[in-house]
Structure formats: C-alpha cells, structure tokens
Amino acid sequence: MMNASALSLSWGDLRELCLDGKALRQTDQLDAVLEQLYARLRPQVVAYVFRLVGSTRDAEDILQTAFLNLWDQLQRGVEIRNVRSWIYRVVHNLAMDQVRARDRREASETTWLEARDEGARPSTAASIEGALVARAELAEALRVLSPRERECLLLRAEGLSYQEIADVLQTSAKAVSVHLTRGLRKFADDHDKSA
C-alpha cells in the first residue's frame, strides 16, 4: 500500500487522479490526494478569492468549502476533467454568492458617506507617495472595470486559458477575449488619467 504522507505526486499525477474518482476512492488515497491538491493550490487560490471578497478568513473558508465539494464529487465517482479550473469555478461562485449577499445587506443602509458625497473634493491622496496610500488607491483602480471585465482579468492573471475562464464564468471564449481587451484598455486609460 502506498504511504499517504510520503506520497508525493506531480501536478500531472494529481490531475490524472481526479479524472477517476472511483479508482481514487478504491485506492484509499482520496484524502491524501486532496490534501496535496489543497496544499498546492491554496496560496494562489486564496489570494484570488481574497481579491474578490476582501477578507483572508472568508477566502480560506471558501477554498475549503470548494474542496469539500470536490471531495463529495470524487467520493461519488464523478470525473473531474480539469481540476484546477473546476476549483476556480466553484470558489468563484461561492465568492460571488457572498459578495451579492453582502451587497443586499448594505443596499438598504444610507451611509454618512453617501449623504455627504456631493460635497466631496477630489482626492488629495493621489499626490502622496507611499505604500499606505497605494493599497486603497489600487483597490479603487479596479473599480473602473465592469464586474465581468474584472473577473476575466483576474482569472487570466491566474494563468487560466480563455476557454477555462469561459467555463468558470459560463460564457464563451470569444466573449472572454472581448472582456479582456476592453478591461485592459479601460484600466490603462484610467491609470494614465490619474498618473
């Protein structure tokens, strides 16, 4: 029998194994394989989800939930063709659910900010240098993008192909290409303006 903790699988092996949940379950290696997959994908995926939800805790939680779903699927013998984009799809949907729920919750609240907004002066922060300013600024920079454009760009930056992005977002590769191009253009225009 293979030793679970000593088991060290290449990415190719892991992908291969996910193709056949039934065989995986029979070899009693399901948990060990999932743990390796989890350890392998976690840093990147958590950072990705963080950019969507803004909280590491939530991001970690979402990733784990996705992996529990993966466990369920593989346990049932379901074949997962591309496990990486599968994970991205699930975390993406979970993150979006959370963001939507939060938006609904906040929609009814009128904040002090909104009440005052008309009088708001242009930000003086842009003229200040320093990393402190940068973070909030940069978060703002992404706001010029439409949600779709933002999603496409962030997923592309994760190294997903157009088709994989299309699978995650339930759209076509052609649409992804358009969103990416438009998103980059908008982003750069806004960037130049503020620079």
Binding site: M1, Q29, D31, G54, S55, A136, F187, A188
Partner: protein, 658 residues
C-alpha cells in the same frame, strides 16, 4: 524569405486589439497566429499597439500584486483546519451509525472509511488521531482570525469591564503625530480622563509639551472631541467626520467601531505578532474625512486596545495621529472624587433629565443594565428560559448567558460560532412567554455600535474557575503536535491487533487497526468532554439558582430547576459509565495497574456530594485532563498505567451510588 506571404496582403488590414492580446496569450490558432506574426513583422503601428497591450498587462499585474492578502495563515495550520473539516464532513454522513455502533464497542467497526484512510506509518496515524480527537477541544483554534471576529471579541471584553460600580476610571492617553516618511514620533499632548461610574460626567486634563495643563469637568463625553481637537491637532475634516460619528477620543473598541463605521470600504486586515493583534481598516479613497486608514492594536492576551492610529491626508500632507495608552487605573470613588463630578451634576449630567441648554443635544437615554445575581432574584421566566436553553443544548459550552435587566426584562445574549445555532436557540426561546430580549451574534456578524456585550453574570462569583475548554478560550493558541505523543497508542494498538473472533485467524490490516483506534479515541474524548460540559452547566445552575435567588419562586419553577440539575447529573453518570466501560475493554479491571497517580493537589479525591456542583466540576475536570493526557497528543503525556488507574478511580466517583 520566400515563404513569406505577399507583403501587400499582410499589410492590408491591421490586427484588432482582441487579436493582439490573443496573440500574446497564445490563444490564436496556428494559422491565425502566423498571420498576425507576419503582419507584426511589417507593421510598426501594430507593434506599437502590441507593446501598449503588454504595458497594460504589466500595470494591471502591478495593481493585482498590491491587492494580495497581507497575512496568510501558515500552511500547516490551514492544512490542519482543512483536515478537520474533511473529517467532520465525513463524520456528518456516518454520524448516526457511528454513534450507535460505538455503544457496543469493541464490536469491530466496518464502515467509516473516512477516519484514517491508509496511513501505515504510526507517525501519520498519531497525527490523524490527534486531529480527530482535538475536534472537540480546539476546533476554534484553527480557524484564521478575521478582523471582524477580533473586533467583536475585544468589544465583548470591553463591555464586560466597562461597568464597575463605585469606581472612577483613570485613563491616560498619549497623543503623538508620526511622520509617515521617517517614522519619527512627535509628542503632541497627554489627555487624561477620569470617568465617573455614577454619572456620565468626566474630568479631563490636557498636558502639552509647552507645559500647559487645563483641567475641566464635562457633563458628558459628548463634547470632549470638540473641546480638545485643536489641542490634539486634528485637522478640520477629520474633526468634522469624527464629530459626526460621535467618536470620543480615547482607547475604546466601541469608540473605534464608530470611527470605521462609515469608511466606505469593507476590507480589513489583521496581523498577529508577538504579544499583540493589529487590525487595519482602510477608508475609501477620497473619503471626505481625509482618512486613509485607521489601525487598532490590541493586547493579544487581554484584548484591550493599546494603540489607535489614524492616517490622514491634511492639506496634501500625510499625517499619522497616534493615540497610545500609557495608564489605566481603577480608583475607588471617594468623597473627594465624587465631589469633583457633583459640580456638574446640578446641570443635569447626573440624572436623566435632558440638558437645559436648548442648542445642546439631548442627554443619552439610559439603557437598561444587567443586574448581578446578588442584586436580583430568580423569576419563573428566568427558569423557563433556562429550561428552553437546556433543551436547545445551549448550556453545554456555548457562550449564551441570561441577564436580569434593570428594567425588569430578561436578556438572553450569546456569542455563537454558527448562524444555524442562532436560529435553533431563537426557536427554542420562542416558546417562552414574558419580557425577553434575545441578542445572539456570531463573530462574523455586524455588531451594532450601540450594542453591549455583557460579562457573564456568573463570572464575578466564580473565583475558583478551573481551566476549561470552554467558554473562555485562548483565542490565539495553535494546536501543535510536533514531537507530541499519544501515551495510550501502543496499548490500544496491542489490544486491537488481536483477532476479534475465533473465526478470524489473521490479525486485522494495519489500516483497519488505526481506524478502529481513531474511532475509539474519538468516542472516549467525546464522552469525557460531554461530562465536563455538563458539570460546568451544573455549576452555573448552582450560581444562577442559588438558595437565596429561588426562595420566592413558585413550586413548579423550583421543580423545573431541580429537573435541570437532575438531567445534568444523569448525563454525567451515563457518560461516566460509558467511558468506564470503554476503558474496561482495553484495560480490564482484573489487570494490575501501577499505583494511581495522585491528584494534582495531592489530596485524596473528594466526594462529589461534599461541595455540590463545585465538587462535580472538579472531578469532571480531572477526568478530562486525564483523558486528554492519555488519549490525545499531548506535550505532557501521562504514564499510561498509573494514569489509567487514576482515571478509573475518578470515574468511579461519578457513577451513581458510589
């Protein structure tokens, strides 16, 4: 060169932006890729646009990089927490069957393949056993701390200590301005406040490097900020914002909460370093207050705020205002001190009558406060609530407390781990008639700034609180099993390796043995923890429904209280019996064991009846300690033989008729 297509046709049409990007991304089909390549070779215009596209990608990637989480939990910790959830998920599915099967231990378990899949190396097996076994104790340790959870925790702590009667609290806060570029601190002033426990009045004094010292008594803290903003050099925009939020300068979590309420962003960051937890709350860019970010530093042990920093842009310059606590004293409210505040009492500060000046805002309405057990008596509603909470199992280790309030109502307040528990408990309480307010929060939920989380009423009367896994848990502890051993492992292994029945000739497979051991350990640890929770509940009942407090209760309510007690006693006895039976299977009573361990204080074990719930709690704590040191990976492992002997003695005291 000959196989290049006709230059004319290649130049005919420029490449569209989509294709330029797709070209860079390797997303074009072989032929299209070639065509674009040829075109680019000729066309400077398109090459320029290609470079521009590349530059856009780079600037996007730059932004993306800056939007990375500051602190990621260590990967071993994340993996441990993932393992737990995986085990719990699998556990949910087979929970029912496991529960019934375990009654008849050691009947060999067949399913539950989830526990340990194949580890043949003992080290891994131990780790997995430990991970499963500690679910009952430390599931909260392994979840990463969110900024919101940390804030809620600190707030709860603060609410608990905020109200001490007959005390004047002295707070000394140093206010500095820090140069954002050089990090140099410039001392601005020292604000010290005396807060009266009997009135909203406070006395302030303000010291500056120039030596000026002003002393004044204010009717309430409402105008404190306006009074001192110039002295502490807050800019106009910041002052205006802080006043609109009714922020009172000082080191208070509740006040900090006001400061970040309307910041226009959701993101928050938390960092843990040795000795403190730092929360960072960025503000929306261009926020009218000019604030970029606020920070709150908490003492990791006590959860009290030690420093608040506000980063602002004022007149195009980056400023950091830093408030650091340099002193906190609780003074007895002597006549002299009381006289200090009495001077403003006549103006309405001490009573609830509104401020007489027409332009001033009305004095804050008095909210009802919780009464201590010694200041109140039990009511039938309180008993009914206790019964309902018991039925919802909310009295077993969860932080749910019942308060008699100063306005005669009852407040049920709880900090729960999951939203689903919130509903279950609310549903159970819905059946109780009477003036009840239910206030249940989860660490992730938004805590209303006006809400107080009160210190549990029993805590003040509990000087002897033993170390418990709940409800007061160390929040930043990380379970660490490196180098730890499970003392009972080899004994359990030797036991379960034997063939279960005569028909079975061969020893079970190693994986099966480990699985069986893991199940056994889970069972033992669960029973043990249950026992402790029931004992703890019993002790709290004793404090809540003391002889004095139940004196005036009607008969039926008193019997309800008795029934509650009996129920916990029964649960403890049952669990003790089951635990003893389980131990019997691995260490038969006929087996000679070493001399029992002495109890930690060296005393012979007391009878549970000697001093009521306190005695039961002491014994239950001891058995839990023993179980943990024997069956889970522990830094201080017990000697199996003498530990078992002691455990047996302790358990015997908990069985009825002993």
């Amino acid at each position: 060169m000959t196989n290049l297509p006709d230059p004319e046709s290649v130049l005919l049409q420029h490449v569209v932006d989509e294709d330029l990007l797709a070209y860079l991304d390797g997303e074009l089909s072989g032929e299209a890729h070639q065509d674009v390549g040829h075109h680019l070779a000729r066309c400077w215009d398109c090459r320029t646009r290609l470079a521009a596209t590349q530059a856009r990608i780079e600037s996007f990637m730059h932004v993306r990089r800056s939007l990375s989480p500051d602190v990621l939990m260590p990967s071993e910790r994340a993996l441990a927490s993932f393992r737990e959830r995986l085990a719990a998920r699998a556990g949910d599915r087979s929970a029912r069957s496991v529960g019934t099967r375990l009654q008849g231990f050691p009947a060999r378990a067949r399913s539950a393949a989830w526990l340990l899949l194949s580890p043949s190396r003992p080290a891994f097996a131990l780790l997995a056993i430990a991970a499963v076994a500690v679910v009952a104790f430390v599931s909260w340790f392994n979840t990463p701390l969110s900024a919101e959870a940390a804030l809620a925790k600190a707030e709860a702590r603060e609410a608990g200590t905020a109200r001490r009667s007959n005390t004047v609290v002295k707070n000394v806060i140093q206010i500095d301005r820090v140069d954002a570029k050089t990090g140099q601190r410039k001392h601005v002033s020292v604000l010290s406040t005396l807060t009266d426990s009997a009135s909203p009045a406070l006395s302030i004094s303000l010291g500056t490097p120039e030596g000026t010292l002003e002393q004044e008594v204010l009717a309430s803290d409402e105008h404190l900020l306006v009074k001192v903003s110039a002295r502490i050099r807050f800019g106009q925009n910041l002052t205006r914002y802080a006043v609109s939020q009714r922020w009172v300068p000082g080191l208070s979590v509740a006040e900090y909460r006001k400061l970040i309420r309307d910041r226009g962003l959701d993101s928050a960051f938390v960092a843990e370093a040795d000795g403190f937890v730092e929360l960072r709350h960025p503000f929306r860019p261009g926020h009218p207050s000019g604030v970029l970010e606020t920070r709150l530093r908490l003492d990791a042990r006590t959860w009290t705020p030690t420093e608040i920093a506000i980063l602002t842009v004022e007149q195009g310059e980056l400023q950091e205002h830093r408030l650091t606590r340099t002193g906190l004293e609780f003074l007895a409210r002597t006549n002299d001190l009381a006289a200090l505040f009495a001077s403003v009492g006549a103006r309405g500060g001490m009573t609830a009558t509104p401020d007489s000046r027409s332009d001033g805002p009305a004095a804050p309405r008095r909210r009802p406060l919780p009464l201590s057990y010694s200041d109140s008596v039990a009511t039938p509603t309180e008993v009914a609530v206790a019964v309902a909470l018991h039925e919802a199992k909310a009295d077993l280790g969860e932080e749910v407390n019942v308060f008699q309030m100063s306005d005669g109502s009852l407040l049920v307040q709880g900090l729960l781990d999951h939203a689903s528990r919130k509903q279950e408990i609310a549903r159970a309480l819905a059946t109780v008639a009477g003036p009840i307010r239910v206030d249940l929060v989860t660490p992730g939920s938004r805590v209303d700034a006006a809400r107080d989380l009160f210190e549990p009423p029993w805590r003040s009367s509990l000087a002897e609180a033993p170390s418990l896994p709940a409800p007061d848990r160390p929040p930043l502890h990380i379970a660490d099993f490196s180098g730890a051993t499970v003392p009972m492992y080899s004994r359990l292994h030797a036991h379960f390796v034997r063939p279960r029945s005569r028909g079975e000739a061969a020893a079970p497979a190693p994986a099966d043995i480990d699985r069986t051991i893991a199940e056994f350990v889970t069972h033992v640890v669960r029973r043990s923890t249950e026992m402790l929770f029931h004992a703890w509940a019993l002790r709290k009942l004793e404090l809540q429904f003391s002889d004095r407090r139940v004196q005036s209760l009607p008969g039926p309510s008193r019997s309800d209280v008795d029934a509650l007690r009996l129920s916990h006693h029964r649960s403890i006895a049952t669990a003790a019996r089951e635990l003893a039976a389980s131990l019997e299977t691995v260490a038969p009573a006929t087996e000679r064991l070493a001399e029992p361990l002495r109890s930690p204080d060296g005393a012979s074990p007391g009878r549970p009846g000697d001093d009521g719930a306190r005695g039961v709690l002491r014994i239950c704590s001891e058995q839990n300690e023993l179980v943990r040191s024997l069956f889970t990976a522990s830094a201080a492992p017990a000697d199996p033989s003498s530990g078992l002997a002691r455990l047996r003695t302790v358990l015997r005291q908990l069985e009825p008729g002993s």
